[in-house]
């Protein structure tokens, strides 16, 4: 049961953060909309859905969604959602080491506070 929960949680967190990191890489590659107007945003979306990283991210996010459904059938929601808040820390590690973002001390402290805060709010 414990091992099953940990494997499910790992699939949930790695799926969601991996998917979002892949989508971030794709969106950076297709370049931002020239203006924040409907036509320019639609042109941006058309470029985005032709990018391979976008289609790498979507199945990973789907995997994360199915892992969430499985976890919710194994454990109470008041345990699953707070535990999933760990994705803020895992996502920041991914941003630093995979996307080469410069994560300053202030940003790290902020991310950890957000992670604990979301866990507390979700626990009710």
């Amino acid at each position: 049961m414990h091992l099953q929960f940990i494997a499910g949680l790992a699939a949930l967190i790695l799926g969601s953060t991996g998917g979002e990191i892949a989508i971030t890489r794709g969106m950076k590659a297709v370049e931002e909309p020239s203006r924040l107007r409907p036509k320019a945003v639609l042109q941006f979306l058309a470029r985005a859905v032709r990018n391979g990283w976008f289609w790498t991210g979507v199945p990973l996010m789907a995997l994360s969604f199915f892992a969430l459904l499985l976890l919710l059938s194994w454990a109470p929601i008041t345990l699953v959602i707070p535990a999933s808040a760990l994705s803020y820390v895992v996502g920041t590690l991914g941003a630093k080491f995979i996307l080469d973002e410069d994560v300053s001390i202030a940003r790290w402290v902020g991310v950890i506070l957000v992670c604990v805060g979301v866990a507390l709010v979700a626990a009710g």
């Binding site: 969106m27 973002e101 902020g110």
Partner: protein, 142 residues
């Protein structure tokens, strides 16, 4: 307007759009599914629930807002750091708690208030860092 200030303003506007769309979408989805009622896990129950779901204007409105969330998320990630946008988006949890207190008069536990304070402080800390720390392709090519 200096480009750094412009970048910060448009990032905050898109993060705000993300939060509004995600919260509105989730609340409408919940409201729509409550209208559909408890789904019976039989072939008849599932097909009935399916038709009630796809013909519900509230569910379509929820899908519209959730699509808006995805579009604003993808758009902001085209220029801002993932490690900036992701924690900033968590402000939605804090906002939902305020809305639940103001409009639904829901009781909120002290533990949840501590969580809200931590999220607000965390988002403020992340918010004062630079929204983008990586090169964009056009700058790299220049």
């Amino acid at each position: 307007m200096p480009s750094e200030k412009r970048l910060r303003i448009k990032t905050l506007v898109m993060v705000f759009a993300m939060i509004v769309c995600a919260n509105a979408g989730d609340l409408l989805l919940k409201y729509g599914m409550v209208q559909v009622g408890t789904v019976e896990l039989t072939a008849h129950g599932l097909s009935q629930a399916f038709w009630q779901t796809v013909t519900s204007p509230v569910i379509w409105l929820a899908i519209f807002f959730l699509s808006g969330f995805m579009v604003s998320y993808m758009t902001v990630l085209s220029w801002a750091d993932y490690s900036y946008v992701m924690p900033a988006g968590a402000f939605g949890y804090a906002a939902l708690t305020f809305l639940a207190v103001v409009f639904l008069h829901e009781p909120v536990s002290p533990r949840r208030w501590v969580g809200v304070v931590l999220i607000c402080v965390g988002v403020l800390l992340v918010g004062q860092t630079r929204p983008r720390t990586t090169e964009v392709p056009s700058e790299a090519a220049a």
